[in-house]
Symmetry: C2
């Protein structure tokens, strides 16, 4: 059983959630925004180096494999996800432009082949000297499905079943060669030991994959697996395979309940709960004074077009067309959907709890009222409280607008966290696993021979 | 009709075919080889920078999505393809470590989804400022098929039909946004012009893809498409979609015949033959004197294990087990195969023409007798003759061992080519298209509106 006593000592883990020009829908209209931020490699390298200067554990890249279907007119007013680098190629480029920070990319198990993903993340781990992480997702919406021969998103339970098998195949492929397989013995002519390569010969419900992978075992053994399961099925997957859990909760008690639940599920699955690192999202805007911080967010919010807010709510609710209902009436019951169940549930709860009209809800979500607006002290207080009260092992820090919110976090909040002994002052490890205090996983073949069958 | 008169003036194009530790099967045993060359990013960056110093048009990366199935014992003596970076992530890493050289990666249309590949190559083109190229292949062998749920490689005609449709989808996705779609107009709040985004809505035999791609049109409009079709079907595809054609011929007349044929097919397909650049493979080992060059290849050949030579022949013949036949007898008739038809045909022709036994054939292929061993003058003579006699627009330069053969080519051959006015002395362009003299393709929507249907 995991302790529920307040935690003393220890340090938080922080991921930098980089989505230039920022998470806020109108971030690109900010005067300091870089116009083509999503595809400007010089800009993104600068952001990555700032995050590395702040000794973040990792850069975290979200992803969609499509453009959310909404009205073309409204879509044209939003930068997010419509023009950005593909995450694995971007992280590979950042691997040679940084030296220590971890590199986590999102990739979907629903619309990929495990052999390709295993290979890409193994390659990224080798390129970066052991800094790769894979955020395993099952994708979100119908717009993605329609780029892969389907009419609508794969059904929720089916895609989680596929995800579990996908993970099993990928980790098996990463173990294709034993850690000490490659001898490079020029004198004897033995490149690798013949008994240290393993054919996976996987034949399951969703995949048949022979292997072996055509690359040495990754420096980390396996890249770090990140997961964000929130539904029942999602939590079970997260607890079984996730090493870092990305989550989001509006209140301390909700976060504590999730934290305890995931750690308990991990223990039930036979894992060490300390090796399942729970990182809630934390969106912040920081000022030297509270007034300065408030001014910053007010300036940002003034840039938001109400049409964009409503379109964003439509998208978050699975494309359900809200324009058929009175804007100043309540949110109607929604039809069943295959999209992210937990995300929709949170929005519905928010609307019902505060009796919001559609217009109010759209405005509240788009205004991003959950963003913590404060001074270095108040933000550090929040981080410390959630950490000590076992609501978090650290945070996925979300930047409403870039580069300013990242610069402010690194220059104002991180020094305060360091002063309190809550965060590293320099990297002590070389790999992402070392930053996170996660052990290097043994190969599944650690005590077997690997003759092909 | 393309001229058959000897060519005067003009310059050759050169790709550096990088496959560390080199193309020769025993290259990894050379004293200057880097032990873990396939996954050593510092080493590969050094190779890339050497190629850039030599003002090569591009780095060219071959690929297989699997480990060729052969005996485990023999496999363990070969470095090639068993331990190397995945090409697109490697090129993304090289994009930030180089400034001008083109970056061409091989990717299979048989075992990929067009949305992913379109996105990865668009991303690579943005990352590199317009230096990306895609070598479109249909994959080679059963070992690859078995990593994607199949028992054997997809039938030849079917995979070429799929490849043609795949290419059509990918180029359509690259055109999702018009070149001038993104306005980033902070004042009006218009991120892109609503009428300048295009849903592909492709519904074909092999793919249904909605689009749009979630990234701006690549800097080159479309990354350069490289193709290596050699069979009848392959040549037709190459002539229809290839902008650079990678090929291989043992003699000048054979190369001239292929060159004329591809240019004629391109013209028949309505294309400008000058925009189809034919680059035969050229494997070279260069010495300051002929004797020095001969010594180098003799030293390299002495490292070859005969078991490896036989296994390599087996692999090249589609996995057909030759150990059942007398080693000193003739090559038997081979069963039909779905693998690379042209490669097998060339090997059979070679065996029949010289009346070779299995042992002799294996030795000859593994010894790589087609490697041009000479001085800077003789190698430059060969390049000049093939160029002037319309057998080539340049070459894919293959390095039997790395880094030496690349260093020698850059330090010895390229100065000689420059002295003759046959090769650039510095990059004049910024993009791969500019290096190759290829026009920037217009969008397929250049004169249409893009309302979703």
């Amino acid at each position: 059983m995991t302790s529920t006593q307040p935690r003393r000592g220890g340090q938080v883990h922080l991921n930098a959630f980089l989505k230039p020009p920022g998470e806020f829908l109108a971030a690109w209209r900010h005067p300091h925004a870089v116009a083509d931020a999503g595809v400007n490699i010089r800009h993104v390298i600068e952001l990555a180096r700032t995050a590395e200067r702040g000794t973040f554990d990792a850069i975290f890249l979200a992803d969609l494999v499509g453009v959310p279907l909404t009205s073309q007119e409204v879509l044209s007013r939003v930068s997010v996800v419509n023009d950005s680098f593909e995450p694995t190629t971007l992280l590979a480029a950042l691997a040679t432009a940084t030296t220590r920070i971890g590199l986590v990319a999102t990739a979907s198990t629903t619309y990929n082949e495990p052999y390709h993903l295993a290979r890409i993340f193994a390659s990224l781990d080798h390129l970066s000297g052991g800094r790769a992480g894979w955020n395993l997702v099952t994708s979100l919406n119908d717009a993605e499905a329609r780029n892969f021969g389907l009419d609508s998103h794969v059904e929720h339970e089916l895609r989680y079943a596929r995800a579990a098998e996908f993970h099993d195949v990928v980790t098996g492929l990463w173990d294709s060669f034993d850690d000490d397989a490659f001898r490079h013995d020029q004198a004897s002519g033995v490149y690798f030991d013949a008994d240290k390569v393993h054919w996976l010969n996987h034949a399951g419900t969703h995949f048949r994959v022979s292997g072996p992978l055509n690359i040495a075992r990754p420096p980390q053994g396996r890249p770090v697996v990140v997961q964000a399961g929130a539904s029942e099925t999602g939590r079970d997957l997260a607890a079984r395979v996730g090493e870092v859990i990305f989550t989001a909760h509006p209140t301390l008690p909700a976060a504590q309940a999730y934290y305890a639940d995931i750690k308990a599920r991990a223990a039930t699955a036979g894992r060490d709960p300390d090796h399942v690192i729970v990182l809630p999202a934390l969106s912040t805007i920081v000022g030297r004074t509270q007034a300065e911080a408030e001014d910053k967010i007010a300036a940002l919010r003034s840039l938001l077009d109400p049409r964009v807010a409503l379109a964003d709510l439509t998208y978050r609710l699975g494309g359900f067309d809200l324009t058929r209902f009175p804007l100043d009436g309540p949110l109607p019951e929604l039809p069943p959907s295959n999209q992210s169940l937990s995300g929709q549930r949170q929005i519905l709860d928010q609307a019902r709890a505060d009796n919001l009209t559609i217009r109010q809800l759209a405005d509240q979500i788009a205004r991003d009222d959950r963003t913590l607006v404060g001074t270095p002290t108040t933000v550090a207080d929040h981080i410390q409280e959630w950490f000590e009260q076992r609501a978090a092992d650290g945070f996925n820090v979300i930047f409403p607008y870039l580069p300013d919110a990242l610069n402010d976090f690194v220059d104002l909040v991180i020094p305060e966290l360091r002063r309190r002994g809550l965060f590293r002052t320099a990297y002590t490890g070389r790999t992402l696993r070392e930053h996170l205090g996660l052990p290097r996983p043994p190969s599944r073949y650690a005590s077997r021979s690997g003759a092909p069958t």
